[in-house]
Amino acid sequence: MNKILFLITFFLVSNLLSQELISGKVTYINESNIESNLEGVSVYWEDLSYGATSNVNGNYSIPFSASSNKLIFKFIGFKEDIVEIGDNKKYNHLMVVDNSQLDEVVVNKRKKTIQKSYFKTQNIINVSSDELLKAACCNISESFETNPSIDVSYSNAVTGVKQVKMLGLESPYLLITEENIPMIRGASQVYGLSFIPGTWVESMQITKGSGSVVNGFESISGQINVELKKPYSDNPLSVNVYSSNMGRNEINIHGNKKFNDKLSSGIYLHVNKNSSINDNNNDGFLDQPTSKAFNLFNRWQYINPEKGTVSFLGVRYMKDDKVIGENTKDMAFIRAPWKGGINTGRFDSNFKFGYVNPSIPYQSLGLQMAFSKHDQNSFFGSRNYNINQNSFYSNIIYNSIIGNTLNKIKVGLNYSYDDFDELVDVKNNFFTRIDKSIGGFFEYSYDSMDAISLVAGIRYDIHNNLGSFFTPRFHMRYQPYEKSVIRLSLGSGRKASNIFSENQNIFATGREIKINNNLGKFYGLDPEKAFNYGISLRQGFFINNREGDITFDYYVTDFDNQVIVDWETQGELSFYNLNGKSFSKSLQIDLEYQILDNVLFKSTFKNYDVKKQYNSGFKQNPLTPKNRFFTNIEASTDENENGSKWKFDFTYNWIGNQRLPSHTSLIDFKGSSPSYSLVNSQITRVFSNKFEIYIGGENIGGYTQKNPVLGGYPFGTDFDTSLIYAPIHGALFYVGLRFNN
């Protein structure tokens, strides 16, 4: 109770912290080349909180804005300027005459790499491509290491795959979309994020809580949307090269061409190769697979502003081959070595079309269609796992208003088709399934910059295996003061659990796989269903004229039904439906403060309470840290005229104790893993807007799990590579370059 009181007090008091003035003089160079005062210039903060006009002497003065540090100077006949104001109370500005009037507006502003909005109704965090650069390489699943909303952990000791979690729940409970088309699901659930190269990404939107009804019923704990680069706006040529001391080498090349005002096209190529044998912990198993991958994407963009149309067409092919297991190169074997291979091929194509009636700009129609074919053939020791998924998705959305543009509506239809073909080493080892669904949705939003906004949506789906059901979602934002926002969200979600593809780490174990068949439609199991609700409080503040904010997020996911993956018994792995309670409660506190003009400090504390009813009792989810702490500092030097500067980034992660399932090889731990810390850092030298070199390290302290591979004999039932609580490889260093033209 005291804590809540403290929060509320803090919330109110920090509102009183600002009301200072910034003043200065606006001048221009007149015809006789003399600097003269300029009267009548509009000076206002970007958030429109305060504004003023320069007087006869060119002087202006306005109160500091609580939510913006960008001051706009605007006057007809001059170039518009946006200036970032630090802690100076005086700022003089020289306006430049705009002779042509057609010249592009000179915009000089620094954007934060992770932006949280005060105005959006949903709790959405926008991650820019600059933030992605902080993790240097390589693909999206790795890029979250500098982002506190998403947790990244290893899923097992041999495949090198990193798994993401949000609100304490694994990635299958997230809806991951690529430009709002559901993408990483079914067969691609585990490896999918690692198949999107970081350099292809323009931005990402992370939504906490149940999200919008528009993209389907599957999201439970949140949504991640990935926006890829667009041929029209991307650089004509970009090259990124990366190399690490662990033997991983990557090349990304993008080329874009504008054929005319309307038509443009881009080709994006990603190649990576890791051929070096790393076994730093000397357990006889490769710490990272040797691998090679190839990913090619061709995209076309057509825009016609007069007719109000825009469309995209994309085709993509990728191939990824990994070799895992025992080090057969440097070691001699008296028995057969434990080896494995994961070979994936995937084809994607999508088409999008949008139409905005130029004379009625609030009405628009959007159509999306996507087809994909995913093929994975793999073996883990003596176990095989093959999955083949064909998927078709289409979505049509109509946007309009009720009454006026403050009241917007979206109505639409989805159709999706998936067929799965799996070969698994369990009894009745062929699984085939077809999922078909058609759904209609309606979403109303009251959208204004005023104190309250809300989004309320409902959808109805008819699914051949899940049945027919409604999915409601509700989001509300209340902004009592300019720098205070309260958000609420509430919604339900359901999904079919693709038990094998979502839990591929079960194959690199000797555990006997058991399915507790209760005649459900999915491997004999019933689908998963959950409610998610949460509250988020955000309070901005100004200390020393520098911006900062503090955010409290509390989200609860309550499962009505769930597929429990039970690791509790050594030598066995069981799947069964929930019989009892299962929930995930997550608390996250973020603090962000601009320490100096060029130094941004971020810190996060997270507490997860994830419990479920196992056959053996009501227990904390294994391998999920109860507490985590995160700090990130980003800094840069002032930019020189040619754009050159230094950029520094430092991330510290502390990961608390995790409950370990019982295994005789882990007996020393008494059921819980030790806490540990990880440090990542990166230095970038920007030579110009076109060229930069970066160098960095991950897990610089070199903390590793002592015994990631459990059980003496790899073909025995005690063999286990999945009880992983810490990194497998030690410190990793890398160097790379980026070139844009």
């Binding site: 009548g40 509009s42 000076v43 206002y44 429109l48 504004g51 003023a52 006009t53 706009i72 605007k74 006057f75 007809i76 006949g77 004379s359 009625i360 700009p361 609030y362 009405q363 049509i396 109509y398 309009s400 208003i401 009454g403 006026n404 543009t405 403050l406 509506i409 109505v411 639409g412 239809l413 058609i438 759904g439 209609g440 309606f442 204004s448 910059m449 109805y460 008819i462 027919s468």
Partner: protein, 114 residues
């Protein structure tokens, strides 16, 4: 049958909203103002009028584009209401006492640029 309900709901909501377009009038006229703050004041104030569906005001040209339902509001009333926000239109001049209370940067009469 269930599929039919979903699809027909979708189609009818589009038709309904297209039907509404028939009652809509589109106009454009001059409203005096200076800056982004004026834009916010003009657009938000106009959108609150019953019958007004869409507003966009352009800073450079001082032109307002409106879509409104002519059965619910008369064009003349829109002009009048906007002038009461402190921004003169082609037809009505803003009352002096309201104009004088505008934020400094919105005082279009004293700023010689328009």
């Amino acid at each position: 049958m269930k599929y039919l309900i979903i699809v027909s709901l979708f189609v009818s909501s589009i038709c309904f909203s297209q039907g509404n377009n028939l009652k809509s009038q589109k106009v454009s006229f001059n409203v005096k103002g200076v800056c982004e703050m004026c834009k916010d004041r003009i657009e938000n104030g106009t959108l609150k009028l019953k019958g007004v569906k869409y507003v966009k005001w352009d800073i450079i040209s001082n032109n307002i584009s409106l879509i409104y339902n002519s059965k619910k509001i008369k064009l003349d009333d829109i002009h009048k209401e906007i002038s009461l926000l402190g921004h003169s239109t082609d037809k009505y001049t803003a009352p002096t006492e309201i104009y004088n209370n505008l934020p400094d940067c919105c005082l279009y009469e004293t700023l010689s640029i328009h």
